[in-house]
Assembly symmetry: C2
Homo-oligomer: 513 residues x 2
Amino acid sequence: MNGAEALVRTFVNAGLEVCFTNPGTSELHFVAALSRVAGMRPILGLFEGVVSGAADGYARMADKPAVTLLHLGPGLANGLANFHNARKARTPIVNLIGEHAISHRPYDAPLTADVEAFARPVSGWVRTADDPKTLARDGAEAVAAAFGPPGRVASLIVPADVAWTEAGDPADPLPIPSAERASPDAVTDTALALRSGESAAILMSGRALRRAPLEVAGRIAASTGARLFCDTFNARWERGAGVPSVDPLPYFAEGASVALAGVRHLILVGTQAPVAFFAYPGKPSSLTPETCRIQTLASPAEDCEAALEALADALGANQAAARAERDVASAPAGRLSPASIAISVSALLPEGAIVSEEAITASAALTPGTRGAAPHDWLGLTGGAIGQGIPVATGAAVACPDRKVVCLQADGSAMYTIQGLWTQSREGLDVTTVILANRSYAILQIELQRVGALETGPDVQQMLRIDDPVLDLFRISQGLGVPATRVTTAEEFHQQFARSMAEPGPSLIEAVY
Amino acid sequence: MNGAEALVRTFVNAGLEVCFTNPGTSELHFVAALSRVAGMRPILGLFEGVVSGAADGYARMADKPAVTLLHLGPGLANGLANFHNARKARTPIVNLIGEHAISHRPYDAPLTADVEAFARPVSGWVRTADDPKTLARDGAEAVAAAFGPPGRVASLIVPADVAWTEAGDPADPLPIPSAERASPDAVTDTALALRSGESAAILMSGRALRRAPLEVAGRIAASTGARLFCDTFNARWERGAGVPSVDPLPYFAEGASVALAGVRHLILVGTQAPVAFFAYPGKPSSLTPETCRIQTLASPAEDCEAALEALADALGANQAAARAERDVASAPAGRLSPASIAISVSALLPEGAIVSEEAITASAALTPGTRGAAPHDWLGLTGGAIGQGIPVATGAAVACPDRKVVCLQADGSAMYTIQGLWTQSREGLDVTTVILANRSYAILQIELQRVGALETGPDVQQMLRIDDPVLDLFRISQGLGVPATRVTTAEEFHQQFARSMAEPGPSLIEAVY
């Protein structure tokens, strides 16, 4: 068998099941191998940003990597923005990139580029294979590297001649290290802080936002008076009615500073100290009060759940957690708005749904407005690189075919990876995309003031609006094979969203407000 | 004035007129400055690959750089594939990237990435500004670096606080060095080779493919019997009826080897020795016969026209050049195909049109089939990174508002940067996009055999077809604000293309064959 087949079989041996791809000539031996080898499902994207984002969404839900198969430097480059988001989400991905044959590289053919240089900023592990005999082993190491912990993008660059040359057998999987235990000192120190009687808050992200650790954190909060926060953007957050309540830090630095005002002890679980998304003239980058002591209970690489359990034991925390209550308001009427959409989503989202959220300015209404929906997973824009929502929804639906996926997607940012709708149609994925269509880069209209760019000319708004021409996203969706409607009132949205929750398969609702 | 305004004024002082942009928060001071300062037209793209490709198309026609304004590492990353094409086209671009404020970078905010690392592989010049007082000077140096010669992408990374802080005056433009003369020895050696009586060919690209040097090359060919070739993909090639004939090297290595068989002297003008686009098992990467002596008359950095003139003088080359003849066949009928489309385009393309060609497999019919069209410029896929056609057409139309632009665009590769249609609509650009819709990655179906991936499974074709669901590109076009039709016969295409040539403004014809 050739190198490509040995590598694909190695991935299957390691339990990998899905390959998101947009291949080119240098990857055709992998395409052939994927068609020959049972056990790895190839899923085509029309654009590489769909491929990388789908792999991110898949692994957030499957808790194991997908493979991405991309074409040379430019193909990888098109996937980088969503690999950036995956890096910030600490998502495991095995990123396979075809490269020119080793013998061909010195000739500077048109597609020649520095593939490793493109890969390095988003990858926790990078290797260019140089020998078909060791390619399978390279692949096994890439899988192990992707798992971490914490998860990372492991980029394996394979020259075409390494893929097409006769190779040895597939490699056995390498052991996947489990997350390390947090240090007993961290547990003791945290318990001391929480017993001090001073104002304390616990800031969580990563694995700490799964249901089981949230239950423990909820008991700790109830028993000590500590407040529970999570990052503004999280890879995966289990939330909804009956789940212990956690407040995300507000996006804008001013709001986050207010939320953390007076906190003397900030305990970090699976995340880092909170910082402003952007810098603003004369404002601090750190969001914590100067008098606040920041301490880490468990780093993103450590076992957050075990650390929280050890802390709960140390504190004897047995008070019942405060939980979000089920929130079913009556169907909204009149003007369509993010707030009215939140009411409908909260009422109609089925239990076990997965929400991919890239609503940008509409998040401010949608996130709090759905805290009382039936229990669900919430996948956020971890790295701030827009164009994540549709691909992550795509990958999540592949990972969880029995769960409804809802993508809450702003219109401007939808346009970076709109091609993902085609993959949803092709694979028959159960995804409802809601386009929050305000027809502007509304976040920039807000930020323009906040960054102090006050002296503007008359046509500055023209550069922040996207309503000329109007983007007919429902028509673009139809062109990509996803049935779509446009709604302009709260009643219409409620009706269409209800219909979509009841019907399987991909659909899109363009909500113009 | 702040750094952003000083920089924008520096660019205007240097004669730059257009800024293609997809800005974010860290670029808002530039957005404000662009709205205040007269003389630089901001043009919005919905996706960064449109921005970088449009800047490439603009400079190919304007012979001076546009500015690109992009958002942090991920925004730059989305533009890299078309910057790769621009690098291979040796196109001058001043690539401005907003970065986090210097004080903010250590905090590892979500959008933090290694911007320089992303920029380096596509750039001939990279700098991160660190002082508002020297930012204008950095900008003047970036402009000079972009011009080269040869042209290059000059990437200037500007932290937000460098942009928003009070700065000095704008900088004066730096002198732009002209292309150096080729060495007299190169001229003498080439003349000797062409007088040897042995089979000789001249391979040209870059500036050698403008009308004036082509006239000289045509005389040389007529006087010496040397054959004239150009690269398969060229940044800008002036061609059509009455222009001296040049044959592009065939895309597939086998064809190129046949074209060059028996050539003893290969003379390079503005290009490098020809190589296969991809490597194939057991086939050479170099396309020239082993017995062929390759010599450079003028490198891409040197003055190709002056070198050809010096060569013509040394040879006393005064025979009249062979010219392409006007080719107006009768309107085609029946089955729609790339060949029938070539007949219509050849008959109807107006004089002075600009063609952006990314037709992939259809190129084999379209390129030779339009050699007898009225004189026009032909802009090719220089770096092989698909998704160039629509953006390059967009930028070319901005550079030449009085000329009709025709984009000959394959369907699969259209989907990487389809968002460019929206910019065409917004700016009212005179671009006709022809989608060559074969509904497959046809090039990969061909390459699959050529790379020797013969043992495939039953579903391999599924990964190379894009017809499930059908991409309704005419509908996507309408959704992006560009009027569109779909045609399925040669007569319908001829009629629609004729109508589109007669009407100004953007339109799209989806030609399904």
